[in-house]
Amino acid sequence: MATNTLGRELKTWLRGMTASQTMDALRMSVRAIEVGEAECLRTLSFGSAQADEIFGRTILCGRTHEIGGSAATLFAALVLGRCEGPTLWCAREGAPSALYPPGLVQAGFDPGRLVLVRLRAADDLLHAAHAGLRAGWHVVLERAKPFDLSAARRLQLACEAGGGLCFVLAFGELNAAALLPSATTRWQAAVAGGALWPRALRLKLHLLRNRTGLPGQWTVEWDYGSRSFSMVSASCDRPADTPRAVLA
């Protein structure tokens, strides 16, 4: 009887959702059954089974992620484009380059869900990010200076409390002394090849640090039409005349 009621309520609840939301919700409830309620974190879907296998287990909601490299902004925009919900973008005022909304649209992220906070002081930006995370929003924080330990920990706690995604975009050289000590994952992203919108784009992703698993290095392809990631084999970039023997 109780199961029936639950089923009916679930059905009512699912009716108002888009297909991807439904999938997210079901995936989450399955995970809740698998690992128990306490351990349950919202996972995202990335558009293909292989990508889900790798990124779905690393880029978790309710955790902080640091992204560096030349394509940091692009990678954050692409991932956020795959998930629902309002997003707070905390940008440094006076930075040489600023987010350009028409480019975001092309990356599959609707700027209509974005609230942009432009501030000069790093502490104010951090405060805004805290407030956003606690409210359950996804937050992108542009940062040039490393966090101190307590600030990093507070950011992590706020992120866990809200359950949104938190991306820290590292501007400046990403090296061993990374910006966010508490980051669950640390990525380095760069564009491979020179494809432009609307042709499929390739990204070289380097997972430098992974608290929930092993680091790794992948090349992924982003399809602008279906807004999905797919994995590309390592040999994809070989010149056309490479002999088969070399590959083997």
Binding site: E9, W13, G16, M17, Q21, A25, M28, G69, S70, A71, A72, T73, L74, A77, G85, P86, L88, P96, S97, A98, L99, Y100, P101, P102, G103, L104, V105, Q106, A107, D110, P111, G112, L114, V115, L116, V117, R118, L119, D124, H127, A128, A131, G132, A135, G136, W137, F171, G172, E173, A189, A190, V191, G194, L196, W197, P198, K204
Partner: protein
Amino acid sequence: MRDAPFAFVAETANRLVLQAVNGPARAAGVAAGLSLADARAICPQLLTHPAEPRAHARALTALARVMEQFSPLIAYDAPDGLFADMSGVAHLFGGETALLARVTGRLERFGLCVRAALADTPGAAHALARYGSGCTLVDVGAHRAALASLPVAALRVSDEVAQSCRRLGLQTIGDLIPLQRSALAARFGLETVNRLDQALGHAAEPLRYIRFVPPLRETLAFAEPIGRTDDVERALTHLLERLCVRLEREDKGLRLVSFTIERVDSGLQTVTITTSRPNRSPAALFRLFRDRLDGLDAGFGIERVHLEAERCEPLAAVQVKGLERFQAKWKPVRRRKRDQQKTTRANSVSVESEFAQVDKNGQASTADDDLIDRLVNRFGHDRVLRLAPAESHLPERAWVAFSAAVASLHPAWSAPPTPRPLRLLARPHPLKAEDNADHRRPPAAISWDGRVARLTPLAGPERIEPEWWRDDPAWRSGARDYWWVRADDGLRPSGPHPDGLRLWLFRVGAEDAWGAWFLHGFGE
């Protein structure tokens, strides 16, 4: 001043005319409507001051509040009078004579020259107050006789009508009464007949009574001055709760609230917060205030605090029961929640959790609005932005930012037809072309801060013309040809982008006069 002849002067039709005169001036033979030159001739010691219609209107409103103690129904008799409905009131003050004396006495204490009349009809009272002996009491039914001796102008008719009456030998209202109505209407218009009937009580005269709305303001005074932050916070919570209860009764929500502290040294400090949607949740409002309280300086102590609603908007209470079980676990989709609120209505507001408050657009204040309010109140409207597309083909003008507190706008974005960068430079950065053999194509290499990068063209050119109807300094150099190029790892050593980059370059100029290359954006 009270004993000297005094008049307010206003300029009408290029001459200075007396607008209002006081008792001594009247006694000296000066009357309103006289030109200043004539008045000076009659009464050389006349003091004058330019009329201030706004201040007069404000003063009249204040007097209306004063008159409230005598009658619940007060109406304006603009520009210089007030009607008070005294039906059934006089016995409270000991009869009509005593009442009239009390009213004039009360108003004279402000230093005013009061002319009052108590009569059966508003028209008669108006006429007798202005053209009577100063303080007139007319017995019930006697107004007809009292009016008969007054001039026609007392009837609230236009100057032209009064003048033509005089010319025809109709000096007083008494002369008008026996005349045939139809003849009177044919010559002076229906308005005159109507005014006469109203004064005599043959026609109804509805008055627009003033409704005084008590200001949404709460005050708390302390026996001992307070200074600790905790105490101020507690006082604020208390005031917010009181104000929100009042708002709930009126189905209103706050948009702009100010909190003022009064210090013992009579210094005033105010903190004002705004909300993106009407809000009457004490907890949410308190959170908005809390970030700002640090700016207040208690000095030697605070002896009084005020909370005032400066702007309110309708906010109805609507039931949203049914999904709590899932709402607790997962965040519901906002659109769905709103649909529910539209369909179910309730008429009680007692249980907070079962009700959402919706504004006039049917939108509920949500946790998201709460966040935006907090950010806006802390950082300012120009720092917390939402983005909307704009109708322009110039890259910099293709979007606009507006304050996130303007919540009703939900712009629809569509992708531009050609590739656009993800990050745009605040101003284009000049590049030094190292090797530019073919002028129609981007250079093979550029140097940037002393480092050289090799370029591979990806797409282009895309020509963007300036908008000729707008003088934009950045676009004065003319049309631009935009190119997408890929720069190799040459920028690696200490630049911000260690890997290869897709760059958005442009150059100005045409076939015969090529200009310099500029970097305008990054593809990632």
